[in-house]
Amino acid sequence: MFQLLRQVVKTGIKTEAYPQPDDALRVTLDRLQAAVLERFHGSLAIRHVDAGSCNGCELEINQLNCPYYNLEGLGIKFVASPRHADMLLVTGPVSRHMEVALKRTYDATPDPKLVVAVGDCGCTGGIFGENYASRGRVSNVIPVDVAVPGCPPTPVALMQGILTAIAVKKT
């Protein structure tokens, strides 16, 4: 126990500066009202759905748990069920075998809800594209608010995408 505490103290606080929202990442403009978005600020529940990725994007989403990024410091947390979620964080491409599960997860998420598509594959279908087994980009299957490119997108890019989705669009 002493060693554990000593290691905690020795490590100190590692959190780095948070990124700013970037309107260039928006796919849909102003789908939710500003009043709703303001409520999400400081308390956002995310459900991650892997709809067919290579698992590279999942590595970076998991890396958001690293103290350097401290996502929970912004009141943003990952939840175990779409029923508890305000936002779906979806990696792609959407395989045809995951299409039904993704639609059902979307339907199970209460309104008002946001969708962030993650990675080059989530944004465009990426290297896998569309074929007999792949539906390509996430927006081919469910509506998308913000798309975060990258292969895989860095934790900072992911945070920026999430923050853009809940930021009120500047007029």
Partner: protein, 524 residues
């Protein structure tokens, strides 16, 4: 008697691992399987190819390894069936089922002939990997998504039921509660104790093998790195090795040493992440925070040295795409010292933590005997006494000179898999130091000549999870006729069904994490 003594024509392929190649008929196919199984060898991969345009036939291929040899055997088929091998190599069961779903070749005599990778995306009488069944335009349009409500009926799958007083089922997935990949687990339980677990995978199937066939050899490297994103260096290397063996070219020494550097960095990063999540799943969030800091530092140095956090697209056919910067040697040495110190301290904390050890010890045990019988491989295999490590048993350059010390454990439980990960991090740190000290100077890539049509190329590399295997068949003009990437998860998923037996459901996430298998790599 060794495989090469067998009554077959063998020719040796060029390339980094020593491979024997032969062709057999159906009778000799079975005899050879019996022989390999009896001599303690294992089935590395089983795949098929459509050669109807050239020979009018389909073919089934198998890669076998014994502790001294590695052989790739081809069986040209008369029709569309071949003799079952799963009675000798249980690991073949799912491979054979997938082979039927994708290519329509069936194993005569197989006990389990249910579908595996096919759900409802394409009809049962269409085989995506047959050259005749789909061209690029029909691929997208032919199988439009049916009504969402029809899919469950179209996708009916006969799970094996368990009956009895108080037995009930818990279906889990495909969308899971954590940030993990999709798959379905069907638990049959009494109270909290698991009587049976049946996995259903294939949710992520996105036509990777078909996609390769639309690519040329250079472009294929990008896709290979994305078969399973956490093993980008391992798949990148195995793919490059396959192309190089088909083209008959050897990369310069500096490139080979840099590849080993990349592979060991990937091993360290993944093991660090797993150790963190294993602590977290047992209720020690401190472990997650600490190990993710270490992992993040490794990833950031990857970015600084190779311009990619997960080392994607650094390994290319012919060599590597980016040279190691001059200050790299110092930075890697500094990183090694820091890592070594903190990992030792954290290991001590894990070892001494009663609550953690209470969850780890005796949880999810796979005995060495069961592991040998069912063919467990990779780091999970080594934690159950299976001393297979391609870096040691079938080393390619530069591993021949690095003299890797294999980490094994007889325990077979979560604690053993944790111990093997710690030992492998320590060993990889030693290897990183050796590599940067002895890194040869010179070119980082050789030009790759276009190989002739119909050449076979093989790549075989020990990734962090286990051995990664790639088989390539070339087409005209430097294109890919067939590519089969085999993730070690194919071998280890079935063992997870055994590891959970007799344990309670809440221990499943911990046991699952201790294997940390790839869904993407097995779903293809």
């Amino acid at each position: 008697m060794s495989i090469v003594d067998f009554d077959m024509a063998f020719d040796t392929l060029d390339g980094a691992v020593n491979i024997h190649r032969g062709q057999v008929d159906a009778t000799l196919w079975r005899t050879l399987c019996v022989h390999v199984a009896a001599s303690g060898g294992r089935l590395v991969a089983l795949w098929g190819s459509d050669q109807t345009q050239h020979t009018g036939r389909y073919a089934v291929h198998a890669a076998f390894a014994t502790d001294a040899e590695f052989a790739v055997i081809t069986l040209p088929l008369e029709g569309a069936s071949y003799p079952d091998t799963s009675d000798m190599f249980p690991v073949a069961i799912r491979m054979q089922r997938a082979l039927h779903d994708l290519l329509g070749l069936s194993a005569t005599g197989a006990v389990d002939d249910r579908k595996w990778l096919r759900h409802a995306a394409w009809p049962a009488d269409v085989y995506p990997l047959r050259k005749s069944s789909m061209d690029e335009s029909t691929q997208v349009s032919d199988f439009k998504q049916k009504n969402i409500d029809d899919v469950p009926a179209l996708d009916a799958y006969p799970f094996i039921p368990v009956a009895g007083d108080g037995v009930h089922e818990i279906p889990v997935g495909p969308v899971h509660a954590g940030t993990i990949e999709p798959g379905h687990f069907r638990f049959s339980i009494v109270g909290e104790r698991v009587l049976r677990l049946e996995q259903r995978l294939g949710y992520k199937h996105k036509g990777i093998e078909k996609r390769f066939e639309q690519m040329d050899l250079m472009h294929g490297a990008k896709l290979a790195a994305r078969v399973s994103g956490d093993s980008a260096a391992a798949f990148g290397w195995a793919y490059a090795m396959a192309v190089e063996s088909a083209a008959g070219v050897t990369p310069p020494p500096r490139a080979l040493w840099l590849r080993a550097l990349l592979l060991e960095r990937e091993r360290i990063a993944n093991h660090l992440g797993d150790l963190g999540f294993l602590g977290n799943d047992a209720g020690l969030a401190f472990g997650l925070s600490q190990f993710l800091i270490l992992k993040e530092d490794v990833l950031r140095l990857n970015q600084a040295l190779f311009d990619h956090r997960y080392l994607m697209d650094v390994i290319v056919p012919g060599g590597v795409a980016r040279d190691f910067p001059d200050d790299g040697v110092t930075r890697v040495r500094d990183e090694c010292s820091r890592l070594e110190e903190v990992v030792q301290r954290l290991k001590h904390i894990y070892d001494e933590h009663a609550g953690l050890q209470d969850r780890f010890v005796d949880c999810g045990r796979v005995t060495p005997d069961l592991a040998a019988r069912l063919g467990l491989i990779g780091q999970a295999g080594r934690a159950s006494g299976q001393a297979w490590d391609v870096r040691v048993t079938h080393p390619c350059a530069p591993y021949r000179e690095l003299d890797v010390r294999m980490a094994t454990h007889q325990g077979g439980d979560v604690a053993a898999r944790v111990a093997v990960r710690f030992a492998e991090i320590t060993e990889s740190i030693r290897l990183l130091r050796l590599i940067v000290d002895r890194l040869p100077l010179g070119e980082i890539a050789s030009p790759v000549p276009t190989p002739p049509e119909g050449k076979l190329g093989i790549g075989w590399v020990e990734g962090w999870r286990g051995d990664v295997f790639v088989a390539l068949e070339t087409a005209r003009d430097g294109r890919i006729a067939r590519l089969h990437p085999r993730d070690p998860s194919w071998h280890n998923w079935p063992l997870l069904e055994h590891a959970i037996l007799g344990n309670i459901v809440p221990d499943f996430p911990l046991i699952n994490k201790s294997f940390n298998l790839s869904y993407a790599g097995q779903d293809l």
